[in-house]
């Protein structure tokens, strides 16, 4: 006969919470948000000359939650088809690693809570599209494209920031999104 144990119950609750936490966190960057973001890439005027898009999913240094979110978002993006039947090459890293990042990048995806003036500077220098589902990134001028899907797809483009990074979208796309 099994004996009821408070210690066992506590451990089970702890395990359940631990398991639930990433799932809850993952909701902050939903698959729908990522689908809309990667589909937006298909309207860039200057797509990569060869291969698929290389996307860096970026989080704030020292943020354990951000790192988990970033890795989960990267995993989810890998499962998505790229625009024009091209693939998506995805990696996750902290903002602090961005400056020294040697591999080709076409776009950055900032998980919520990621900010810093360095992001926009590097985007300008490397002509990167910076996306996020966090509206705050537009106010902080860290991203140029806010894409989220809360049942209705909402896309806001910071035209000035995009122009400064030499990132441009087709006129059709530009006419259908909101502008900051």
């Amino acid at each position: 006969m099994r004996v009821f144990s408070f210690r066992g119950l506590a451990a089970s609750i702890a395990l359940a919470l631990a398991a639930a936490y990433p799932a809850q966190a993952a909701d902050d960057v939903s698959l729908a948000d990522l689908k809309a973001a990667t589909r937006s890439l298909g309207f860039l005027q200057n797509p990569p000359k060869s291969g698929g898009y290389a996307i860096g999913v970026v989080y704030a240094p020292g943020s354990a939650n951000g790192k988990i979110l970033s890795q989960q978002a990267a995993d989810r993006i890998r499962s998505l088809p790229g625009p024009h039947d091209g693939g998506l090459k995805v990696e996750s890293f902290a903002v602090s690693e961005l400056a020294g990042h040697a591999d080709r990048l076409d776009a950055l995806y900032l998980v919520p809570g990621t900010s810093g003036s360095a992001i926009a500077d590097i985007a300008r220098r490397k002509h990167l599209l910076v996306m996020s589902n966090d509206p705050a990134c537009l106010d902080q001028r860290c991203c140029m494209l806010m894409v989220r899907d809360n049942g209705r797809v909402e896309i806001v483009l910071d035209t000035e920031l995009a122009q400064s990074a030499d990132v441009s979208f087709s006129s059709v796309f530009a006419m259908m999104v909101k502008h900051k």
Partner: protein
């Protein structure tokens, strides 16, 4: 000075150099034309350019609009476009025979419905010579249609003349973006045999070609006696072919070429509400250039339509129209900054038709027009769109003038100048609520037959077109409210329409001898109405919709044409109440749909010795249904039925329509 011939040669060499340079720089696909599929996937809703010319999400357009996607077209079980439109809230369909229907939006339907402009990918398929759409001869296969866009209310500011009660723009798949390969065969009651095929070939996004075609036969409803004459027959037939090619000239420029041809032989109810037998032969050639430039989206379009309509009416009188329309359009849609998008456009149109049944003269007009649109995003939740268009039609006539004819060719030397506008304020009041306030003015042009293309002389009476007709104008005032309620969408609209200088087939009289009757501007008409529709889904397997329209019309016609005496009556013919509903179910490989429609008691026009008279059309309820089974990933078998609730049912003043069944096998690869 450079000699003229050298200038000409230089220009040609430059054009050739430019063309081949563009070919040489052909590159991978970027979207210059609107990539409906990719945009719909991104935004999770259909997109359209039919409201303002600017690409927009369906929920953001400053117009009352319904978009029927390909899935709904397929699941309707319809075998033609009017069969699909029958389900759309606010749309009126008068089905006369198996292959002949007249369609309008918000009432005002009639034989040879003239107030609805119909286009396929922006190319007009509305026939200017008699102001109607020969639906049976529209050269498009349903499997090649991405969506059918229905704009309710006038949209002359974008599309020009005859977009008065609404616009239907049939958008086909773009061969460059969409692979559509389909073969479909249908058999059914009334001896129906139909076949349709669509094939797409492409080269890695540099060019693509779509060829689609179809043909069909049926024996018309047994509820009428075919018209007199050597062509009298109960059998209808149609065949059509459409070739659409598109080349990605460079990363920012596309060129497309479309050629179509169709032939349809149909029993129909003609403009005098008599049974007639028509042969329509149509051809078209269209070229289109789209470029995404630093100056916006530039589009240049040129096309010519040829429509030959050979008719034998119930008296055995033949008349043959050969209608030719050439249209050249140039437009630029430019986003000036974050808050302002503008569109500027120029169009030139040439239309002509030979006179009939007395041949020997031609009626023609040239119409230059300019138009503009300004979309101002006032705040994140408020946008205001204004569009205006000015047309200046220069009318003319050449050819013989019969002895005793009341007009000289110089009577046609006149200009008809008209302007139309659309103004729409869209307020997204909350995440769930959108309000629209709309005001618009649309123009219906007298058709070429009314303007003189029709001349009939008999020992008993004479009739001719009239070069002095005015265009008819429709003012529309409208307030709409859309609300998202959970998984359902509520859409409401109230509208008031005032139509002035309505065009009538008769009403004019020139005392002789010899005396002539002529078409005339017969008066005005006011309409007040409201629409409410609710659509939704539940349990992942079910979707549903219901709509109701109320409309009351007051005609103010001259005495000679009141109460249907002369082929026109909107007050009594438009039903006050129209109800539609649909329910669909999907489970694994199965899908089933049923659509019901009801309209209240109204009247219809039927011919008399001197004109027409009103006869009652009782209220009716009927239903269409389809059940489909996906045999494998490529093959679908379906059984569908139309008018299922009664074996025979009178829905118009024409022959009763009958129950129909179809079995369809469709393969996509």
């Amino acid at each position: 000075m450079i000699p003229h011939s050298t200038q000409h040669g230089s220009a040609r060499r430059l054009a050739l150099f430019s063309f081949f340079s563009l070919i040489a720089f052909a590159g991978a696909v970027q979207a210059q034309t609107v990539n409906y599929g990719a945009l719909e996937q991104l935004f999770g809703e259909p997109v359209t350019t039919s409201a303002t010319g600017q690409p927009q999400r369906a929920t953001e357009v400053p117009a009352a609009m319904e978009i029927v996607p390909a899935t709904e077209i397929r699941r309707s079980g319809a075998v033609d476009v009017p069969g699909v439109l029958k389900r759309v809230p606010g749309v009126d369909v008068m089905q006369w025979t198996t292959n002949n229907s007249d369609v309008s939006v918000r009432g005002y339907d009639q034989a040879f419905s003239s107030r609805l402009l119909v286009l396929v990918d922006g190319r007009q398929v509305y026939a200017d010579h008699y102001g109607y759409t020969p639906w049976e001869a529209v050269p498009v296969e349903l499997a090649a249609v991405r969506q059918i866009e229905v704009v309710k209310g006038p949209n002359t500011a974008l599309f020009g003349f005859n977009a008065t009660s609404g616009v239907i723009n049939i958008i086909t798949y773009n061969p460059l973006y969409d692979d559509v390969n389909n073969i479909s065969v249908t058999g059914g009651t009334q001896g129906t045999i139909r076949g349709s095929a669509t094939a797409t070939i492409k080269d890695s996004g540099r060019w693509a070609l779509r060829l689609s075609g179809g043909a069909g036969l049926d024996n018309d409803f047994s509820t009428f006696t075919p018209a007199n004459g050597p062509l009298a027959s109960r059998q209808n037939s149609h065949a059509e072919i459409n070739l659409n090619g598109i080349v990605q000239l460079n990363a920012h420029t596309q060129f497309s070429l479309e050629a179509t041809h169709s032939q349809a032989i149909t029993n129909r109810v003609d403009v005098s509400y008599s049974l007639s037998r028509d042969t329509h032969l149509t051809s078209s050639l269209k070229g289109q250039l789209n470029a995404d430039t630093g100056f916006g989206l530039i589009q240049a379009v040129a096309y010519t339509n040829w429509i030959a309509q050979d008719t034998v009416n119930s008296l055995g009188v033949p008349f043959d129209f050969d209608d030719q329309s050439t249209v050249i359009q140039l437009q630029d849609v430019l986003r000036i900054n974050a808050d302002h998008v503008v569109r500027a456009a120029f169009e030139f149109r040439h239309n002509e038709v030979g006179t009939t049944p007395i041949a020997g003269a031609r009626i023609f007009y040239d119409t230059p027009s300019i138009s503009g649109m300004w979309n101002w995003t006032i705040s994140p939740s408020v946008a205001w769109t204004n569009a205006v268009r000015f047309d200046s039609l220069q009318l003319g006539r050449s050819g013989i003038v019969l002895p005793g004819f009341p007009f000289r060719n110089s009577d046609w030397d006149r200009t008809i100048s008209e302007w139309g506008f659309n103004s729409g304020l869209v307020w997204k009041a909350s995440d769930n609520d959108t309000l629209r306030l709309l005001v618009s003015r649309g123009i219906e042009l007298p058709n070429l037959a009314h303007l003189g293309g029709f001349i009939l002389q008999t020992p008993f009476f004479n009739t001719t077109g009239n070069p002095n007709l005015q265009a008819s104008a429709v003012m529309n005032y409208e307030a709409d409210w859309d609300r998202q309620i959970g998984d359902a969408v509520l859409r409401t609209a109230v509208f008031y329409q005032k139509t002035t200088a309505i065009l009538g087939l008769t009403g004019g009289f020139i005392p002789g001898p010899p005396a002539y009757t002529t078409p005339a501007n017969i008066g005005d008409s006011d309409a007040v109405g409201g629409e409410v529709s609710l659509t939704g889904q539940f349990d992942d397997h079910w979707h549903w919709g219901a709509s109701y329209r109320f409309e009351t019309i007051k005609d103010k016609f001259i005495p000679a044409v009141q109460n249907g005496l002369a082929f026109t009556d909107f007050e009594h013919v438009t039903p006050k109440h129209q109800l539609k509903g649909n329910l669909g179910w999907t489970m694994d490989a199965w899908e089933a749909d049923v659509a019901a429609y009801y309209q209240s008691t109204s009247f219809g026009l039927t011919p008399t010795m001197t004109g027409t008279m009103l006869i009652p059309v009782r209220d009716y309820l009927n239903a269409d249904a389809r059940i489909g089974y996906r045999i494998n990933d490529n093959l679908t078998l379906s059984l569908s039925g139309q008018n299922l609730l009664e074996a025979h049912q009178v829905q118009t003043s024409g022959p009763a329509i009958q129950r129909r069944f179809f079995i369809n096998l469709s393969t996509s690869f």
